[in-house]
């Protein structure tokens, strides 16, 4: 037993606990003259956190918003795939949802720079008489990128939970006089909650650390915490402050995700099982 767990435990020690401790120690240090870590013990870095307030605000706005949008786009598709599609085409259509995942996210996101850039959609809009629309380097572009990047992650769990749903329940509801919409609200939606919870969780976690999409489609203007951290480590070389931001992000993640899990688990459909 010990032998089975030893590698995993070692991994956690060296690759998780040690780095987190180093980050924590650094976050109380001072920046060295030319950058990096300069030792010391101070709360200055944490006191300075408000200087990144906007990045935190952006992340905490766009991560839930992006998650919600992904869900709104993904849910009908998952519903369609799970309940409306003929068995024969189901697998093909499902695979088509994952295939984009196999092209580098970088390249896919880069493709959007053209689509949203001056010669893309705005030009098309100009043809039909709508002028002056700017998409690239706006929050809208970032949100489009987010939905595009993480759609499959949302479609899949929701699809699985809808697929497991007992179809006779829907028939029973219709039989009991519920119209389609009522059936959806009272039966389908609650029973697909575990899938929704899992999908939202996955997307939310990834969005909280997002860097690429805002960097590419936000033009350096829509800054997430991820971008702020990359900036601190790879431009201003302020390791202590970057560590403080990272530590804060970890704490925020722990709190939000724990609350979220608690809420999701309270749900009688038992989202906990699909979460962990």
């Amino acid at each position: 037993m010990a032998a089975l767990l030893a590698p995993t435990t070692l991994w956690f020690l060296v690759m998780l606990i040690m780095p987190l401790i180093v980050i924590l120690i650094f976050s109380f240090g001072e920046r060295a003259a030319v950058g990096g870590y300069g030792g010391g013990f101070t709360f200055e870095q944490y006191a300075n956190l408000p200087a990144r307030l906007k990045a935190f605000q952006n992340t905490l706005t766009y991560a839930p918003l992006g998650t919600l949008l992904s869900l709104l786009v993904a849910y009908p598709l998952a519903y369609f795939l799970a309940l409306k599609v003929d068995r024969r085409f189901k697998l093909v259509l499902l695979v088509l949802v994952i295939v984009p995942f196999w092209t580098s996210l970088l390249i896919r996101t880069y493709a959007w720079i053209y689509i949203l850039g001056g010669r893309g959609i705005p030009t098309i809009l100009e043809w039909i008489g709508i002028e002056g629309v700017r998409l690239i380097n706006t929050p809208t572009a970032v949100l489009i990128g987010i939905v595009y990047g993480y759609l499959p992650l949302m479609v899949f769990p929701v699809y699985v939970s809808l697929e497991k749903l007992d179809k006779s329940l829907l028939e029973a509801s219709n039989d009991l006089g519920g119209n389609s919409f009522k059936t959806f609200l009272q039966i389908t939606l609650p029973l697909s909650m575990p899938g929704i919870a899992t999908g939202c969780m996955l997307v939310f976690i990834l969005l909280m650390g997002e860097f690429l999409i805002p960097a590419f489609l936000g033009g350096g203007k829509v800054f997430f915490i991820g971008n702020a951290m990359v900036d601190l480590f790879l431009q201003s070389r302020n390791w202590p402050f970057g560590s403080a931001v990272a530590a804060t992000l970890v704490v925020i993640m722990l709190i939000t995700v724990s609350i979220y899990m608690r809420l999701a688990m309270r749900n009688k459909t038992g989202a906990d099982q699909s979460l962990m």
Binding site: G35, A51, G118, G219, G220, A228, D231, L234, Q235, R237
Partner: protein, 386 residues
């Protein structure tokens, strides 16, 4: 390896290495490096040019890899291809947005770079941190110090030792799309006015401290290199105020300008030439209230894994003809008089590349202190995340 090769090797050690080489447990290159023979070969080759084939940089086995980190749009692919064709060394180009980013990468270690392109104001810092190595100029016979204007080549020498060879020099001003920006801004003050006015939503500033903060400082009438906290605070206010009007914060401004999304950007003169050549409405402006003049250099990181290839590459790139071709592609002026002499007249007299002296009077070389000043670093980071 370099540390070992400048130490005398004992005969016993030499024999041991020789046996290892014969057994095949080390490569020829390693053998030559460890025993110092590689060095000897190179020195002899440099001393007796006639003994070597025409192209001295092809004299030894250089391996097949070279990692070259530089700025976007800053090389002539044909030159790199020729180097590869002659030496078998393939070049991987990494493009970086700022000196700060390069410094951060090198500080973290393990970059794998063989040659990179630092700007004048960073070199003393690199030397201090031990991140670049002193150059053995005997391995770069194509470099002619006397042909370089000391004004540009000066920063390569730190404490009497040469750490870099110059690449190009240039100015940092701004570029406008004259079809869109009609008010004709002439200064950084104008630049920020236009940003908030007719250029709103279509202006790009760089994503690193030196030029963006420098521009704001100049607009306020301060020194481009100021690290005075009060002046910086004012500059920050200028930047923050203009942020809602920006199209992007990036040093890779060509795609935005070309696509028509951006109409105005902080710009280096060579990029301006590239843009102007393709799109005549692109106009470069050297701001009347100041700005930057700079030199870029070639340097070899202390931990360069392909040292021989790096020297060969440096030597190749110092060839005047190669320099001239390079400049032709990217539009930046060489510092080397021999190369300028080989340039077509149109380039040699180009007002963007070689502006009149009086235009350059207000320009300043970036100061080393700006790179290390924590306030400037934090200011730009704060501005970006604001």
């Amino acid at each position: 390896m370099s540390k070992n090769s400048d130490k005398q090797i004992t005969s016993k050690q030499f024999m041991r290495q020789l046996w290892r080489y014969k057994r095949g447990s080390i490569s020829r290159r390693e053998f030559l490096g460890v025993t110092g023979l590689g060095m000897a070969t190179a020195v002899m080759g440099a001393a007796i040019p006639s003994l070597l084939p025409q192209k001295s940089w092809a004299s030894t086995d250089l391996g097949d890899r070279l990692v070259f980190s530089t700025w976007p749009n800053y090389w002539n692919q044909a030159n790199l291809d020729e180097f590869t064709a002659n030496t078998g060394v393939n070049i991987q180009v990494n493009a970086f947005g700022s000196n700060e980013e390069m410094l951060a990468k090198l500080q973290a270690g393990g970059t794998g770079w063989d040659v990179f392109v630092p700007t004048n104001y960073t070199i003393s810092n690199y030397v201090e941190l031990g991140l670049i190595q002193e150059l053995d100029l005997s391995r770069i016979p194509n470099y002619d110090a006397s042909a370089n204007n000391p004004k540009f080549a000066g920063p390569a020498t730190v404490n009497g030792k040469v750490y870099c060879v110059p690449k190009n020099w240039g100015t940092t001003g701004f570029i406008i799309n004259s079809n869109k920006i009609t008010s004709g801004p002439k200064s950084w003050k104008d630049f920020f006015e236009v940003t908030k006015g007719e250029g709103s939503g279509h202006t790009i500033v760089h994503d690193y401290q030196l030029t963006t903060i420098g521009a704001a400082l100049c607009a306020l009438g301060y020194s481009f290199n100021s690290i005075d906290p009060n002046e910086l605070a004012e500059a920050e206010a200028v930047l923050i105020e203009s942020k809602p009007h920006l199209f992007a914060i990036t040093s890779d401004y060509q795609p935005g300008m070309r696509s028509g999304d951006a109409w105005m950007s902080i710009c280096w003169n060579g990029d301006a030439t590239q843009l102007h050549n393709d799109l005549p409405e692109m106009q470069y402006v050297i701001a009347s209230d100041g700005g930057e003049i700079w030199t870029d250099f070639y340097a070899i990181p202390a931990e360069a894994p392909h040292l021989d290839a790096a020297y060969a590459f440096l030597n190749y790139m110092q060839d005047p003809a190669v320099q001239a071709r390079d400049a032709e592609a990217h539009g930046y002026a060489p510092t080397d008089a021999r190369a300028i002499a080989l340039q077509p007249a149109s380039l040699a007299t180009d007002p963007i590349l070689h502006p009149a002296e009086e235009l350059m009077n207000g320009l300043e070389f970036g100061a080393a202190q700006t790179l290390t000043d924590p306030n400037r670093a934090e200011l730009i980071a704060r501005f970006k995340s604001a």
